[in-house]
């Protein structure tokens, strides 16, 4: 029952995040989706991942969204899509139906539990490459953001050098 309620909440939050016109409201609905996904992960027996998802997905990413929306300003988001509306609906429904046909029968063929090692051993012992890749990914992300957000050098007139060259 709790799973059903959480699932309904997740889907409502996700749909509202897409539907709402204001970007800031959209970001807040996305935070709600994250929090409910974290609750669902906890209910599924993955409390560690749930906590990380709650702090990163609902906390850090939301702060980043609010920061970015503050920098860019609100803009009208009710422009018509580049693809025709009926085509998008048909493609989405087709996608959902195909996924349902593929995934729903697979759930009933679940394998028995194997009795594997604890999360600590699996993560730090068996999946060492993943941990290294995560560190590299974080480093690349930081370098990418530093490169993207760095201001161009400005001279005393306040003009950028690239504009001078034009």
């Amino acid at each position: 029952m709790l799973h059903l309620l959480t699932g309904a909440g997740i889907l409502v939050c996700a749909i509202q995040a897409i539907r709402s016109r204001r970007l800031i409201v959209s970001a807040l609905w996305l935070a709600g989706t994250s929090a409910l996904v974290a609750l669902e992960l906890y209910l599924l027996g993955a409390p560690e991942i749930g906590v990380i998802e709650l702090s990163v997905g609902a906390g850090l990413v939301t702060v980043l969204f609010v920061f970015a929306i503050n920098l860019t300003g609100e803009e009208a988001t009710d422009l018509k899509g580049l693809i025709k509306e009926p085509l998008t609906v048909v493609m989405s429904v087709l996608f959902i139906v195909l996924l349902g046909i593929l995934l729903v029968p697979a759930v009933d063929r679940a394998a028995p539990a194997l009795g594997e090692a604890s999360l600590k051993i699996v993560l730090w012992g068996n999946r060492q490459l993943d941990v290294i890749l995560q560190a590299v990914l974080v480093f690349c992300g930081v370098m990418g953001v530093l490169g993207l957000l760095s201001e161009k050098e400005t001279d005393s007139a306040g003009q950028t050098h690239s504009e001078d060259m034009e």
């Binding site: 997905g57 988001t77 996924l99 594997e116």
Partner: protein, 103 residues
């Protein structure tokens, strides 16, 4: 189809993926595109944890979900930084304005 926990979770996953794909096809705002990507990645994360649980390898699924969380956060950070720069250079967040690479 009975209402068991894996069935409910797989329906959540399919629903989230559907919403995300529909959003990717329709939205034109760069920040909204990042929102849609976040929704899709949340579906993938839930699916990984569920798959681990169904196969009796819960901890493997969870450690992969952890990797997905890190990758997803980096994608969000870089995407938002890109949106800020696009707004600064082009003056708009509209995806159509990006197709003509003019200033």
């Amino acid at each position: 189809m009975t209402i068991s926990v894996p069935n409910v979770v797989i329906l959540i996953v399919i629903g989230l993926l559907g919403v995300g794909i529909y959003a990717l096809l329709t939205v034109r705002n760069l920040i909204k595109v990042v929102v849609a990507l976040q929704i899709i990645v949340k579906a993938a994360m839930l699916a990984l944890v569920l798959a681990g649980r169904l196969q009796g390898q819960e901890n493997l699924g969870q450690s992969l979900a952890l990797t997905v969380i890190v990758a997803d956060t980096i994608v969000a950070v870089v995407g938002l930084a890109l949106a800020v720069q696009v707004r600064r250079v082009i003056g708009s967040l509209d995806l159509k304005a990006l197709t003509s690479l003019r200033r």
